[in-house]
């Protein structure tokens, strides 16, 4: 191998590469959808996590939600964009005078994907499985009202009566997370005590059947989930064409977010199942300019990350640092934080400043500037001074009455860039008022473990919310709720204001009058704002990138962002 030979080889290789690059450069422009639905075609989306389970009753991860949205159907559905209740398997419903019983009329001539007829027996079976203690469904644990299950009965094959144990204002919206399972496929498994494994990730797709627009065709572990059109799907579009339009739907499993974006750019993937991060927008905008995809603004996110304090009585945090339990201290912190800077730096401007857990994405439930604590460093310092925190040793850090530095730890999730960066900004901003914050970043499991054991002082974390209606997540609001993160699972409210808050939230969930509910909710939020058990900073703008040849997409801020409406998606032209 003489040097000259090598040189020649290298030159040849460079030439070949140059030819390839040039040919790709001058390739034809991408196809753009013109809005006319047409049948056929394949759509590819992506997921970052492998599915555990295809049975919605057993798993609540993103993959299970997606699979349920695609292959199963519910009695009714809350349209995530308009907020209206839409009939699905139930064509109409009427309530009893006391509002506790609802009678549903089921759609006629509906068949499962395997041809078996759909009757009220399937609905009853689903309810039975939902609350069966032997199965211990996580979904069942969430669909409880005042700790009691819903009762279901069927007067005949085409009618179902669902009884609520107590008045529940959000009403039937709760039922849109319950897919109706096929009795004929799962009955045997339930009887044998094998319901939990029945539709697991390794099961045979032929054992599954559903009423959704698609059917699970194949799951190649860690690679792709393939869905095919359900020939028995019961919905047609306005012109009478049978839905869904798409022939095949594929979900590619791409664990790395960067790789996912690359595939979107290259056309391997048509749409993502997650909102685009603000820092990726430059790249996506360029792709939009080149006509490869379009960026759709779906609205404001409804589950912003939350900064909360460990207010559990007797916790180590409160024992060592009693000022954490002082409202004035917490309010001072809220004044010391420059939320606008967080919006501009972490979210690059694509977010709204919020002071409470309700964001513009909650629609009518949002009140702008509710509980606002404007950015005011002087005020913050004054408040801190008023509770006896001053810098006694001149090192720039405040000291408490025991002469110890005012310092606390902030636990957040490693790998989640928004949470990491916001935590760092918060720490830097609080440093300006003389408070030292140690940001501790742990992986997801570590964070949850520390939260579970109560070994933390403050946390910046988030919880996925499934509905904009506040009545739908009482386990979060109520002090007795497991979700009431600053002091979960209280037997009786430990503070007066939490008791007041509980009463208000209970009332608003049982009052049927919408206006009255809103008034109560506003009052409840004011109580929360006054006592600052937690702080909120920014609600990000949800931007969804969609391939330009995909039509019929109506993205929402709730998961699944685009595929909630998969039956109306269509593609134009051949895939690149």
């Amino acid at each position: 191998m003489t040097p000259s030979r090598i040189l020649r080889l290298v030159l040849a290789a460079t030439l070949v590469i140059a030819v390839i690059v040039f040919s790709r450069w001058s390739s034809s422009p991408p196809v753009v959808s013109d809005g006319t639905p047409r049948a056929g075609g394949k759509l590819v989306s992506s997921l970052r996590f492998e599915p555990k389970h295809f049975n919605r009753l057993m798993a609540a991860d993103q993959a299970a939600l997606l699979a349920a949205a695609l292959t199963q159907a519910t009695l009714l559905r809350t349209n995530p964009v308009t907020g209206e209740l839409e009939p699905r398997l139930a064509t109409s419903w009427s309530g009893s005078p006391d509002g506790l019983s609802w009678t549903f009329t089921l759609r006629n001539n509906v068949r499962f994907s395997d041809g078996a007829p759909f009757t009220s027996a399937d609905v009853l079976f689903t309810f039975q499985a939902l609350y069966d203690p032997a199965i211990a469904s996580s979904l069942g644990g969430q669909l409880l009202i005042a700790g009691q299950p819903l009762q279901a009965s069927a007067p005949d094959d085409h009618h179902v009566v669902v009884t609520f144990p107590a008045p529940f204002a959000p009403g039937l919206g709760m039922l849109d997370s319950l897919p109706i399972l096929p009795k004929h496929k799962l009955q045997a498994a339930m009887a044998a005590g094998k319901f939990a494994e029945a539709w697991s990730a390794g099961s045979n797709p032929a054992d599954m059947a559903g009423l959704g627009p698609f059917v699970l065709k194949e799951y190649v572990p860690a690679q792709t989930i393939r869905f095919a059109r359900n020939p028995n799907f019961w919905l047609t579009d306005a012109s009478g064409q049978k839905l869904p339009y798409l022939e095949t739907l594929e979900i590619a499993i791409v664990p790395d977010q960067n790789a996912e974006l690359l595939r979107l750019q290259s056309g391997d993937v048509d749409l993502l199942n997650d909102a685009a991060r603000p820092e990726d927008q430059t790249m996506l905008r360029d792709a939009q300019a080149a006509g490869k995809l379009r960026l759709v603004q779906a609205g404001s996110s409804i589950d912003p990350s939350t900064f909360w304090f460990n207010l559990k009585a007797g916790s180590k945090a409160l024992a060592e640092k009693p000022w954490l339990g002082d409202e004035t201290f917490r309010r001072a912190l809220s004044h010391a934080i420059n939320r606008q800077a967080i919006v501009e730096t972490v979210h690059l401007g694509a977010a709204t400043v919020i002071y409470g857990p309700v964001t513009p994405g909650h629609g009518e439930w949002y009140t702008p500037d509710m509980g606002a604590t404007p950015f005011d460093v002087a005020r913050a310092s004054a408040l801190l001074k008023s509770i006896g925190l001053k810098d006694t040793d001149g090192d720039g850090v405040l000291n408490d009455t025991r002469n110890r530095p005012v310092q606390f730890s902030l636990l957040t999730q490693k790998g989640h860039t928004e949470r990491e960066r916001t935590s760092e900004m918060v720490a830097e901003q609080l440093r300006q008022v003389g408070i030292t914050v140690d940001v501790v970043k742990l992986d997801n499991a570590g964070v949850r473990a520390r939260y579970g054991s109560g070994d933390f002082e403050t946390i910046y974390y988030g919880i996925r919310v499934s509905s904009p209606d506040p009545g739908n997540y009482l386990p979060f609001w109520l002090s007795s709720g497991p979700y009431h993160f600053w002091n979960p699972g209280q037997a009786t409210p430990s503070t007066e204001w939490e008791g007041r808050f509980d009463r208000l939230m209970q009332q608003q969930s049982t009052t049927m009058d919408r206006a009255e509910r809103k008034r109560l909710f506003v009052e409840a939020q004011q109580v929360l704002a006054e006592h600052v058990p937690a702080m909120w900073f920014a609600a990000s703008q949800v931007t969804v990138p969609i391939g330009s040849h995909v039509g019929g997409a109506t993205p929402s801020v709730m998961v699944p962002l685009v595929l909630w409406n998969a039956e109306r998606l269509f593609v134009q032209g051949a895939r690149r």
Binding site: L262, E279, T345, L348, G349, E424, E428, L442, D443, F456
Partner: protein, 348 residues
């Protein structure tokens, strides 16, 4: 060439030691409206003619598009050795972003300089520890064979297969939520040494066991050399391998540092680290539109290059000249073979 490499390493070491004066800013200082700001260009000439080196302020034009333009309204002269820093600008015209800013608007240059202290320190000490442990154990196993060999090999294999990540998680769980950087430093170097020695040991063992069969070694044994002495004869044969391993370990440990911090065992809070900086650059957005975020990788490459040159290559597998071996076994020293061409460290 060796001198250049030594100079580079010395410069980095000095930089790390004198970080607070060399770095223009505190590494955690966030500058408003500077997220993803590109590196500032140094000018010496403008419409008015030649000046001392200066920069222009940056103005953000598009926030989400991260577009910055130079504000040509006035020159901002660079100040040397003032304000307690090597290089700075007046406070009104701050910030001076030599290497650009990261996602939060923090000066990347300062973060690199400060990060060098902890990260390089941990990687160096961890690598040295691993080499020491691995060389001794591997040489012992390869020389003496038998039971010791089986024990060492089994332990080495055990450590290799065991997921260190779980050990770290368990360790992390036993420590309080907030652990100081010095404790992390000690624990991390120790962890690195414990995790990296098996590879070194296996390589040394393989080399030494081949060496053992060579004539001079057989002769030494026959002459009655004890086990320690024997190891002393055979170990030099692995020096080259050890040098290569050293150069390979540093970047591997720096990357490992960022994986460790993923399970919560990293330098938290106010201390940047090269591992963390590397991770921030490992994103598409960096490659596509903010390539200065990949500077830590370039810095790492420079360090590796310099170390490589310093460590040099003299020999990996071939024994030292017969003369020196002969001396070791107390035979008459001969000088007839001196024709070994020194393949010095200037050969890359």
């Amino acid at each position: 060439m060796r001198r250049t490499a030594a100079a580079i390493v010395l410069a980095i070491g000095l930089m790390a030691l004198l970080a607070p004066w060399i770095a223009p800013y505190h590494p955690e200082q966030i500058f408003e409206n500077r997220a993803y700001a590109p590196p500032m260009r140094i000018h010496v000439r403008d419409a008015d003619g030649w000046h001392r080196p200066f920069v222009y302020r940056q103005k953000m034009v598009d926030r989400i598009g991260r577009v910055y333009v130079e504000d040509h309204s006035h020159r901002v002269p660079l100040r040397w050795l003032s304000n307690g820093h090597l290089l700075s600008v007046d406070a009104d015209d701050a910030p001076l972003l030599f290497c650009g800013a990261d996602a939060l608007g923090r000066d990347l240059c300062s973060r690199l300089i400060f990060g060098a202290r902890l990260s390089l320190g941990v990687a160096l000490i961890g690598a040295c520890g691993a080499l020491l442990l691995g060389a001794l154990l591997g040489a012992a196993a390869g020389t003496l064979g038998g039971r010791l060999d089986t024990v060492v090999t089994t332990i080495a294999d055990f450590v290799l297969v065991l997921p260190v990540v779980y050990l770290v998680i368990v360790l992390r769980a036993t420590r309080p939520l907030v652990i100081g950087p010095s404790e992390v430093f000690v624990l991390m170097s120790g962890l690195f040494a414990c995790a990296a020695w098996p590879d070194v040991a296996r390589g040394v063992r393989a080399i030494v066991s081949t060496e053992r069969t060579r004539d001079y070694a057989v002769a030494a044994r026959a002459a009655g050399a004890g086990p320690v002495r024997l190891i002393g004869h055979l170990l030099p044969a692995a020096y080259g391998f050890l040098r290569v391993q050293f150069v390979l370990l540093i970047p591997a440990l720096l990357v490992a540092e960022s994986s460790l911090s993923f399970v919560g065992f990293g330098f938290e809070g106010r201390t940047p680290s090269w591992g963390g900086l590397l991770k921030e650059g490992e994103t598409l957005t960096a490659m596509y539109s903010a390539p200065w975020l990949l500077l830590p990788a370039a810095a790492l490459f420079l360090v590796v290059l310099a170390l490589q040159r310093i460590a040099g290559h003299t020999q990996i597998f071939m024994p030292e000249p017969l003369t020196q071996r002969a001396r070791a076994v107390s035979l008459r020293p001969t000088n007839e073979y001196s024709g070994r061409v020194p393949s010095g460290p200037d050969a890359v």
